[in-house]
């Protein structure tokens, strides 16, 4: 079972780390990280099987962040989960650091796969899921991707493949915050009816509130086995969630919080601390 208070505190810690990291490094994408912080907290706090002391433990669940630009969120989750020191987070995006703006596995225990160019995570996760089926392993493979990323055709190749091979050990969570790089997803390249598209491709599709820890936990706890279908969780989210002036504002796909903006963001988040 999930302990909601603990999970929410983890999400808030991830948010505070990410705001500080993007401020110190002067990096972008804080809105995209705040959007997925609750999902990361539930995954790392209550769903994923892993051993931080043995990152390559064979029975671990695999997690790939396909929207690699939100890598600071994963680094923060890993630090909070014991894979690296919290202090190391302060080097993010800076000269000589291995904590790159887009998530990279080199030198970072716990990062399963490096991304940054969109449309790469799902095909690789699909290969991992196929390998687990061939090897009769029980672990699951989770992919967190963005909605805008679904413009990439490579994803739809993988979506076909995963359904064809009945990869019910594969869970995709789509961060459906409705905003992409410049405009909304619907004004850019309409995705709706989004759930129907996944269903038509043969997936089990569940829509949830992507900030509700209990909803995230419940859907990800579903083993999905009886359906013999891969699972797509469309997580409805708010870009910039929990920092009022960043919410639903595409500016914060790019802008780094500095000075008063940084102080205001941290102050808002600290009010959510237990």
């Amino acid at each position: 079972m999930i302990k909601i208070d603990k999970s929410k505190q983890l999400a808030n810690n991830i948010r505070k780390h990410a705001v500080t990291m993007t401020s110190l490094g002067g990096s972008s994408h804080i809105g995209s990280i705040l959007s997925i912080s609750d999902i990361l907290a539930v995954l790392y706090g209550s769903i994923l099987k892993y051993k931080s002391s043995n990152p390559k433990w064979m029975e671990r669940d695999r997690f790939i962040l396909s929207k690699g630009h939100a890598g600071a969120g994963v680094y923060a989750a890993l630090a909070e989960s014991g894979f690296m020191s919290v202090e190391k987070l302060r080097t993010h995006y800076q000269d000589g650091s291995d904590l790159s703006g887009h998530v990279s596995h080199k030198g970072i225990p716990g990062v399963e796969f490096s991304t940054g160019s969109l449309g790469h995570g799902l095909p690789v996760a699909t290969g991992m899921a196929l390998a687990a089926k061939i090897n009769k392993n029980e672990h699951r493979i989770f992919v967190l991707m963005s909605d805008g990323e679904c413009d990439e055709g490579s994803n739809w190749e993988a979506i076909l493949f995963a359904a064809h091979h009945k990869l019910n050990n594969l869970v995709v969570i789509v961060d459906r915050n409705m905003l992409q790089s410049i405009h909304s997803t619907e004004d850019t390249l309409a995705l709706e009816p989004f759930a129907d598209k996944w269903k038509a491709f043969g997936w089990n599709v569940v829509e949830i509130n992507g900030h509700s820890h209990s909803e995230i936990f419940n859907v990800c706890s579903n083993q999905n086995k009886p359906l013999e279908k891969p699972l797509c969780v469309i997580a409805n989210t708010i870009k910039g969630k929990n920092v009022s002036f960043m919410e639903n504002n595409v500016l914060w796909h790019y802008r780094s919080p500095q000075g008063d903006e940084y102080d205001a963001a941290i102050s808002e988040l600290e009010k959510n601390d237990a």
Binding site: G116, P123, V124, G127, M128, A129, L130, G153, S154, A158
Partner: protein, 304 residues
Amino acid sequence: MRDAFLNALTSLAESDKDVVLLTGDLGYGVFEEFESRFPGQYFNVGVAEQNMTGVATGLSLEGKKVVTYSIGNFPTLRCLEQIRNDACYHDANITIVASGGGFSYGSLGMSHHATEDLAILRSLPNISIVAPCTVKEAGEAISAMIKCGGVGYLRLDKTAAEDDIYKQSFTIGKSRRYKEGNDITLIAIGGILDEVNIASIELKRHGIDARVIGLHTLKPIDKDEIIDAACNTGGIVTIEEHNKDGGLGSAISEVCMDHGTLPRKFLRIGLDNIYSSIVGSQQYLRSRYEMDSKAIITKVRGLF
């Protein structure tokens, strides 16, 4: 070459259950036996090369030794970023196999002419690039590449030269000398070595005793053999069924320049920065673009 590749791969799959073959929906009449003999080791992923390369990476990161197969430019250029970011950056164990190097599919048109693949892939770190010159080499190459691990590109040609008479063992990165000679060194990659062998016989009649090297591995390149040719023969001529920019000739000139050893004569034979809208057999196109034995003879004689 394709049959030799498949025979060798079949032997590997027999002894190692982790060997997995993915095809991008090509190989009709070729892979049926492999598929029936090795369930769980063969998947037709459909016409989807980006996903094929991503899936290959995922399989590889879980311990599989993966071969991706298609023709022409499909398993390489179509999914170049997957090769770079997914396979190479993650030290995957994947051998990318393209059947139909150069003008092998000459009559099918420009889309099927693989004439920039070597240059483009050569620029990637963490990949080996092999284009066998003989049928036997194709089998030796796939065995060596899978055993060696890492990411590799295996370019299979429809034509092939005669096997090496010296029975030299196959090593990735070590070229084979097919004929001794000191007046000039002819270095070829892939099946077009056949044209070079024919040309070298005729050149001897004209008093030019050429050393002939089949350089099956473009990366890592056999620097010692290149420097030896530059130092101890009258010059170097490179022959490739490929664009001149960035290919074999470029790679060899880089080796010479980096070493500070300039061949006394130097000539690159290959495509002159064109896409061919003209179609025809491989032999026809080699002749048309002046890289067949006749053209090689004329161009080499012109150096003397």
